[in-house]
Amino acid sequence: MAYADAIQEQREQRRRQRFATKSMHMTQKYLHRMRDLGGTLEQMEPFFNALERIYVQGLDVERPRSTKTVGTYCVQVPQELIYAAGARPVKLCSGHYTAFSIGDDVVARDACPLVKAIAGFEHMGTLPLYENCSLMVVPITCDCKKRIAGLIKEKWPVHPLYVPANREDEDIEHYLDDLYQLMHMVSHVTGQDVTYESLANALNLTGYAQYELSRFLRIKRTTPNLLYGTHAMAVMNASSYLDAGVWASAMGALNDELERRARANELVSRKDLPRIMLTGSPIVFPNLKIPLLIEEAGGMVVADETCMGERGMSDPVVPVDASFDGLMRSLAIRSLRPCPCPTFADNSQRIYRLRQMVRDYHVEGVIYHVLRGCLVYDYEFRLVEEELESMGIPVIRLESDYTDQDVEQLRIRSEAFVETIKLKKGPLKANRG
C-alpha cells in the first residue's frame, strides 16, 4: 500500500513540476512579446520584475517575513483595511492560460476563464502567491466569483464580502458594517489591531499610489504616443503584487522619466496611430493578448476601462470626516459608489465614464472585450454599442478565452478594425501611416 502511495506521490510531483514549467514558459512568452513591442523604459523594469518574480521565478511577493498576505479578488475590497491591520493585500484575479487549462476540468464548463485559472492554481498548489495567503477575501459580485468563494473555501480561510446590488444610503450603511467585520477578521489573522494611526497611515500609503497614478494618467492623456498601452497595463497590473508605497515610488520615477521624454518629444512612434480604447472584462497579466494584438497591428491602446487597469485604482478615497468612523465611511463609499462594475443593478454611470474617457483621450475606436462566459459584460455590450454609435465611434466586440488557439482569428479582426479606423481618419493619413 505504501509503495502504491509513493508511486502516486511521485506522479503528482511530476505533474506539478510539468505544470510549473509550462506556466513559467507561458509567462515568459508574454513577457518577451511585451518587450519585443519596443519602447520599454528602464523605469518599467521594477514592474516587469515584480511580474517575473511571481510567475517566472515562482517566488512570493517581496515582503518582510512577519507580514502576512491577504488575497483579494475584486476592486470592491478596500486594500487600506488590510494595510491598516499590518498585512499585505495581493490581487489574485488570474490571467494565466496554463492554470486555466487545469481549472477547465475542475469547475463548470461555462464558467469564466478568470475563475477557472484561480481554480487551476488552487488545484495544483504550486504558486506561493496563492499558497502563502493567510486569508482570502472574496467579494460576492458576479456568479462565478460567488461560486469560487465556495470552492476555494476547502483550501484557505475565506471571508466572503457581500457587495450590495443597489447603492442607496442604507446599502452603504450595511456595507460599512461588513467592512468593520472584515477589519476584525484581518486583525484576527495578523494579530494586530487596527488603530486610528494605522488606518490613517494606510490611507496615506494608498493615497500616495493614487497620486502617482493620477499623474501617470494625466501624462498619458496629454502626450499621445508616449508609451504603449500594453506596457501601461502591465505597469498597473503590477500593483497587485507590490506594496503600495514601493509601487508608488517606482511609478514616481517612471512619471519623471515620462515627463522628461514628453518635453524632449521622445515618443515611441511618430505616426498618427489609431487611438483605441479597451473596455470590458478584466485583462490580467499574462493575458495581454488583446492589447498586444492591437498594438502589433498598428493601433495604440490609449485608455482602458477595465478593473485591473485604469479603473481599478482611479477613484481616490475622499475622507470627509476625520473620525475613525468617518475614514471607514469614506472607504465604503469609494468601494461602491463610483464603481462602474456591471454587477451593480444600475450601471448607467459606466456610459458616462466611457463618454468622458472618449473625450479625454480623443479615442477613435473602442474594442469591447468579453471573456467567454462573462455574462455581465456581455449584457452591457448592446447599450455601450448604442451609445458609442451615437457618438460616431466604431466599436467591435472581441470575445476571447485563455488559450492561444483564437489568436489568429483575433489578430485578423484587430487588424481589420485598426484599418477601418485608419481609413476613417482619411485616405491621406492612412498612406502616411
Binding site: T195, Y196, E197, A200, G207, D315, V318, F324, R337, Y352
Partner: protein, 384 residues
C-alpha cells in the same frame, strides 16, 4: 413609519409650546436690558463680565457634548462590531490623513465669516458709523444696536411692526432685504451669518478631536423638513398670536452677548445650547432648519451664484453628498442638467473642495467659474 411621524409631531408640538411660552423659561435675566454699547466699553473688564451668559452656554454645551459621547459609547457597547473602535479617536491619537491642499476659496470664506462676525458684533461702534437702513437677512440679532447694519430678521418676525412703519421705511427694508436675497442669496449663509461661523467652529473642533459625528441619511434629512416648516411658521406667525420669536431664536444669545450688551435670555439660551451641541455632531445643523435661510433659498433659481456640474466628468462617487452640510443629494445623482443649485445650498463650497474629478463641479458667478473641482486638490497632499 408611524413611529417616526409620532416623534416628529411631538417635537413640533414641544417647539411651538416652548416658543409661545418662551418668556417663562428664563436662562439669564437682567433687570434692565441695554441694547447699545460704546467704543470705550469694549474689551474692558466690564465687557468681560457681560460675557457670562456665553460662558454659561459654552460650559453647558461642553457638558452636553461629553454627556452625549459617554451615552453613545455606552449604547454602542452592545454593538460588537464597532465598540472596540469607539475609543480610538482620542485627541492624542497619532496619525493624520494628509491629502487635501488648502484652497484659496476656503481661506477667503473663513476671513469673510470672521470679518463679518466682528462687524456684526461691534462694527458699528468701532467704525463709528451705522448703516441702519441696510437690512441684511442673516441671523445677527438686531437686539445688538451696535452692529454695523441692521438685520432683516426682526421685522420678518414682527410683521405688524413693519406694517406700522412709514411707507418709506417699509420700502427701504423690502428693497434692502430683497436686494441681498436676489444678489447674494444663501451666499450670506455660507460667508456672512454669525450663526454659521459658530457652527463651523464647532465642526472644526470635532474634526480636531476626531470625535465621531452623526451620519445623516436621506430619510433623516426628510424628517427635518416638518421642523423647518414649524420654525418658519413660528417666525412669521408668533407675533400675531401674542408671542415673541426673539425669545425663542438662538441668535439672540450670540452677537448681542458677544458685544457686551445686557440682553435677557429666555428659551433662546437653552435653544442655543442645543444648537451648539447638535452642530457639533452634525455640521451646520441649525442651517437645515433655519427659517430665514429657507426664505432666502426660495429665490435660488434667479440668483447669480450657482453650482454647475459637468455630468460626464462626474463618476458618481458621492463625495459631494457626504461633504454637503445640507445633504443635497442631487449634486451627485443629477445626470442631465448642468445646474444643480438647490434651495438648501449655502454656497459653502465643500462639494467642490471634495470632488476628485477635474471640472466636475464648480461654483460660478454669472456663469464665470470662481471655484472649480480639481483632482490635484484631493491627491496632491499625499505626495512624498
Amino acid at each position: 413609519m408611524n413611529k417616526k411621524g409620532l416623534v416628529t409631531a411631538i417635537v413640533c408640538t414641544l417647539m411651538v409650546f416652548a416658543a409661545y411660552f418662551a418668556w417663562q423659561f428664563v436662562f439669564f435675566d437682567y433687570e434692565t436690558n441695554v441694547y447699545t454699547t460704546t467704543a470705550e466699553q469694549l474689551f474692558t473688564i466690564d465687557h468681560l463680565t457681560k460675557l457670562v451668559p456665553l460662558l454659561i452656554i459654552g460650559l453647558l454645551t461642553a457638558i452636553g457634548i461629553v454627556a452625549c459621547i459617554v451615552v453613545r459609547n455606552h449604547l454602542m457597547r452592545r454593538d460588537t462590531l464597532r465598540s472596540p473602535y469607539a475609543t480610538r479617536r482620542a485627541p492624542s491619537s497619532n496619525g493624520r490623513v494628509r491629502g487635501r491642499r488648502v484652497s484659496a476659496f476656503m481661506v477667503v470664506r473663513w476671513i469673510c465669516m470672521v470679518g463679518f462676525f466682528a462687524l456684526m458684533v461691534f462694527g458699528g461702534v468701532l467704525l463709528g458709523v451705522r448703516y441702519a437702513w441696510i437690512s441684511i437677512p442673516v441671523l445677527s440679532c438686531p437686539a445688538n444696536m451696535s452692529q454695523l447694519t441692521e438685520a432683516s430678521c426682526y421685522y420678518l418676525a414682527h410683521l405688524e411692526e413693519l406694517a406700522s412703519l412709514p411707507l418709506m421705511g417699509i420700502m427701504v427694508f423690502v428693497a434692502s432685504t430683497l436686494g441681498f436675497v436676489l444678489v447674494l442669496g444663501r451666499v450670506l449663509c455660507g460667508f456672512v451669518c454669525p450663526m454659521g461661523l459658530v457652527q463651523d467652529v464647532m465642526h472644526k473642533i470635532r474634526q480636531a478631536t476626531k470625535v465621531e459625528g452623526i451620519a445623516m441619511t436621506e430619510r433623516m434629512y426628510q424628517a427635518l423638513v416638518p421642523i423647518r416648516w414649524v420654525m418658519l411658521l413660528l417666525m412669521i406667525g408668533l407675533s400675531f398670536v401674542g408671542g415673541n420669536y426673539c425669545n425663542f431664536c438662538p441668535a439672540i444669545a450670540l452677537t448681542p452677548v458677544a458685544a457686551g450688551l445686557s440682553v435677557s435670555l429666555y428659551a433662546s439660551g437653552f435653544l442655543m445650547v442645543f444648537v451648539l451641541i447638535a452642530s457639533f455632531f452634525k455640521r451646520r445643523f441649525f442651517c437645515t432648519i433655519c427659517p430665514l435661510g429657507y426664505l432666502m433659498g426660495l429665490a435660488h433659481r434667479v440668483q447669480p451664484f450657482r453650482i454647475k456640474k459637468d455630468c460626464t466628468a462626474c463618476t458618481e462617487c458621492g463625495a459631494c453628498y457626504e461633504a454637503c452640510p445640507m445633504g443635497i443629494k442631487q449634486l451627485y445623482t443629477e445626470r442631465e442638467q448642468t445646474d444643480v443649485t438647490d434651495i438648501s445650498c449655502i454656497m459653502c463650497g465643500e462639494c467642490v473642495r471634495c470632488c476628485p474629478e477635474d471640472c466636475a463641479l464648480s461654483l460660478t458667478l454669472f456663469g464665470k467659474d470662481i471655484y472649480v473641482s480639481k483632482r490635484s486638490r484631493v491627491v496632491e497632499g499625499y505626495r512624498r
